[in-house]
Symmetry: D2
Subunit: 388 residues, 4 copies
């Protein structure tokens, strides 16, 4: 399965093409639109989120509600394009408007201008913007529809905002799906959520921004997705790359992640037991991946996000046209995007796992995919039996 | 640039093919062999490291000391293959020897057997073994030779073993190259190094293993490697994926990594200054990557390694043939491989960056690559001037 | 440079994403639209061509007429979608309309239904249709704009329709661009063109269809695009694959192609001369490619197209729902599409060559690409000098 | 499945890595070595073929005769390396020996020197040489072992040498396997074979070389391999690219190929019949591919090879160091390699089809692959039944 997307933040639309979906997958657009809405929600979002209510428009690959196996192209229109058409259009434009030369620290602005030969960071920031993640959420929503039919679910929660952490329990995807959206910061612990919102308020009052950490859990992935045989076939290669490619992510972990560095091997590795003929583990420090493969346990991925680099109070920088010291001017921006970013992580993880499943079972059509995966599950399933 | 490798731990040899090197790169085999030796060194390595002194044998792509632009194939022989030929050979073998059915927690053993239909984890562990990283170190050494000609250097150090951490300063690649190898644990702080070795001793005495953390620094990468324009063209996508694909890595970070989650934006983002016509930053929290591109600062990558899963004292598991509860039997193994793993990280990072440079400047031959990169550096270089 | 497209023949729109264009390429939409028009022209086209006047709509990647280096997404709307919305829409549809079960010989109908589990070949034919080539012509037009800035031009002509052949001279791209569109069958020889049109009339009268052959010439490609070093880096690998992937193509040749099989080596290979310090060839039997690389001469590609499989008079087949013998029912179709197909070949060849140039010179932006290519040309150029 | 190879003609060895083979494939090295021998045979081969008897040496990925799913690395040693070690070694060499500056028309010599900055075409020709195809034959032999287990067979024959053509019948792969190797020119018609050998003799006497044409037939491929859904997923895209990437190929066709251009649609397209509940075709003009997919009929691929460019009597050229007009000096070479080249085509076609099968059915191990493919065959098989 391949995926490319396109689109500037204030351009006409985001667009995406998913190539390689099997035929016969039911596409529930309400589900996709709800995922887009989840990405737009969350305490700490700025004004822009309100003017947009993103909707997917499918251009191809789906007929009468089901995929045709042909590439699925979609767009998500930018609601405020009308007011930007004269600035961001593909034809004649007034390029003297909305120029950004005081390149913002933490953004692609400066390097993008250098690399591509621009003297207006507008030409960079429009694509580097996290707005692009709306397309990835749409693609990830399609991947989730695929996974759901196979009994695989994906959830997430936020466990740190600006240093305010909750005591992070072990949740299944189902628990996260049920509960985390009930919190404005998508935190499972209401007490911590209160404090996180206060932290966001504090940042807002200071004209500052806050980052944080989120966790994605994927339940129901059968053992044996990914492979130990080549470095770039490993599931952690794919997941850590894809999550690392999400805007603002500065750290990615699987399972207990960094904490394993402080422990002895006997404290870390998940022992294996035979319980009435089923092979089970009673812990999941590995986060569902051993030797580059899913091991049948929940896949647990964590990521840390830097604070949004567009800081209202401005940061010291230079104007790339004049060389003068200036303060970075704020684009319209959020204070904290971690709750939304967690939704993006779900989407990205879902897409990677869907892709790896297709790699393992092939599959021109959903009935075939299901049947083959069920067969694999029967053989070793969620809980492996000892018929080997 | 593409790279594939192959080889079982006790097979005839590891083999690798690097496709896409420019012509005219000088290949210093002593350098490559020294890198292989660095991977084999370090406090905490077991007996095997002593019997092997890995050497690269180049089969193609190099003539009279210089690359031909044709694919560079190499092998690294496994010194103890002779005694394994009857067990691991490609022809008739005694498959009843060295069978491993008590699948080891934390390894690919169990999942690999399930996925590929084996009842002897030998068939999995031989490839899943970290022995494979010798090939990657060889490939990375070639990448380093390429980078060195362009004024780019790569160093690493260990800052945590089993929870014993050093105060991690800001080191340039040159400083790391000069000093870290002087320590048996590749730690820059001799005091901490002492404690780390004690920690390793403690693990050994307990029949246990230790993990840790290491940092790679790449100095001299010009701004503009990677791209913000598509998720999988980002430099962090490539680096975090590749590092995530290294055996035992459970966490990858860029720059201050996870710590950015606890801070406000104004505390994190590296301000930009005009110092006598040069654009400079005075901090490098971003770790050299903004918006998916190198920004001209040192690239700083950290990774956490889980403890080696082969624990001498054994861990509870099951025998996959009988279903009986057993203790995992130790393969010959190390107590701590973090100093070596840091060398692997260097190699992997070097390869990714070399690849991304070729993507940006193309380059059929070294003189062209150098000239184009110098031109790019003149334009904005290590320290960007304001000629834009 | 990567490219994916999407779109059903009677769906909302064709869509494409071109990823990896350099910044600063001027996008002339009139040029692109004219290319789309060229694809729709030609003697032998059916009614549908008249209702559609394809226009590109750019969604992203272009601002104020120039590329941003970010992915260029475009759509080409299907003009008659309105009347198909209830049949081909992504939501609820009347799937009992426009069902095709009498699978048409020569089409994807039967195999597509088997592979993807459909009982209505509509689900296959909508994507398998040559309508998709409109997207490729749009993408190829962008590639031509890129090539044109580098002094590279692409032309084509038809030299066989249904067995009526012209005496095929040696034309440069410039000659073909100037003249071939003047003929309704895009043939350079007006006498032969007359006969070709008669052949098409004959086919039409018989309720039949005609195929043919076309040639693409690319002038101005510097020596050294592609590589001899790995099978899939060869320019002929890329070109023959891409042309072979065009609907209806059953044969692809480079240079004198099949004819070289009948001749001795001394009759085939293009001798090399030193003319006043320039290295020249006086023949171009090789068609501009030797050893997997462009050699500086015109690149000459020929392809043979099978007759359109949708034959008005119908062909013996079976109904896949009933198993009954039936005649294939005609979809609205053309009698001969070879003049249009030649335009598609131009587009596909242009895209491949643009991609290979970027592989060789890299290039974040057009000024860089131009400068590097000019430098390469100076070194050996169209006509190699002996400064080596 | 991925494949890379490496190796210079007079270097130490050719090397290849096949990545992505399923576990449990039986590797019969005698079969592979016999394929290598078939490549070395044929009327018209020069002296070198006699000194070499190529043998595969497997370095990894195979244990006790079966694949491990880990990458299969192999080498094929160059028997005469010993006498070339001082010229072609990777370390210090005498680069003044065996210099080739009179660049040979029809070879990569001139362009390769220009592109890569060499003044000795030895640096190019060693890799551009058809010697590389030994590695591809080895890889293709592995692919054949895979296909054979699935009931798929691959044969070839030569139907034209230097303009001497046989009347080319319709042969199944089984017929070709049985008979074509009995002829020194691998021609199915003994009378024509006589004439072909005379043609080769004629070329030899004149100090010249001869090309020709060959056909590959793949029998037993189930319908539905490849896809119509994206240009680069089409089976013809993959096959025509891969065959086009074979040394000396100047034309590739599927089925009746170019001849379809001269016929009407009703004369070309293979009608579909219901014979006692089986869907059958009675002709195979399409050569087994419709709409980018295998349709269950024999896959028939033809290719034309240019005469070997190394002509004993020499061809006019220039010396790239002096600019002087010279005659190209002959490297040791064959007069006609078409019989061997046909074996290479088999290998390349086998690899492509094996890869496409794995894409469709996935498959970590052979039992799974077989089972899934059998299921697909039951559904529509070689001869489709009407159970849809």
């Amino acid at each position: 399965m391949r995926y490319l997307d396109a689109g500037e933040s204030h351009g006409k639309a985001l667009a995406g093409i998913i190539d390689g979906l099997p035929a016969g997958l039911k596409i529930d657009k309400d589900f996709v639109n709800n995922e887009l809405k989840r990405r737009q929600s969350g305490y700490g979002r700025g004004g822009r989120m309100k003017i947009e209510t993103d909707k997917i428009e499918i251009l191809s690959g789906v007929r009468g509600g089901f995929t045709l196996a042909s590439p699925l192209a979609f767009i998500v229109k930018n609601k405020d394009y009308e007011s930007w058409a004269g600035i961001m259009g593909d034809g004649e434009c007034d390029l003297s408007k909305r120029v950004l030369t005081g390149v913002r620290p933490g953004h692609a602005d400066l390097t993008g201008c250098i690399k591509y030969g621009f003297s207006d960071a507008r030409n960079v920031l429009e694509r580097a913007s996290a707005r692009e993640t709306a397309a990835r959420v749409a693609a990830g929503a399609i991947a989730k529809l695929f996974l759901n039919e196979l009994g695989i679910t994906v959830g997430s929660h936020v466990y740190n905002i600006g240093g305010v952490k909750c005591a992070c329990g072990n949740y299944s995807a189902a628990q996260l799906i049920e509960k985390s959206d009930l919190s404005e910061v998508r935190c499972m612990d209401p007490g911590a959520a209160e404090k996180m919102m206060k932290r966001i308020d504090e940042a807002r009052e200071k004209g500052d921004t806050a980052g944080g950490e989120a966790e994605v859990v994927v339940s129901g992935v059968p053992a044996g997705i990914g492979s130990h045989t080549q470095y770039d076939r490993k599931l952690d290669y794919a997941l850590m790359g894809a999550i690392g490619g999400v805007q603002s992510v500065k750290s990615v972990s699987i399972g207990i992640g960094r904490d394993c560095a402080d422990l002895f091997g006997s404290e870390v590795h998940d022992r294996i037991y035979n319980e009435n003929g089923l092979i089970v583990r009673r812990t999941n420090n590995a986060g569902g991946i051993e030797g580059g493969m899913s091991n049948g346990e929940d896949i647990i991925i964590r990521a840390a996000f830097k604070p949004i680099p567009t800081v209202m109070k401005g940061l010291e920088t230079v104007d790339i046209r004049t060389g003068e010291a200036v303060k970075s001017a704020p684009e319209r921006s959020d204070v904290c995007a971690v709750p939304a970013a967690a939704v993006v992580l779900e989407a990205v993880a879902a897409f990677v796992i869907a892709d790896k499943i297709l790699e393992t079972v092939g599959g021109d059509r959903m009935d075939e995919v299901k049947q083959r995966l069920m067969k694999k599950r029967e053989e070793y399933g969620f809980q492996n039996n000892l018929g080997l």
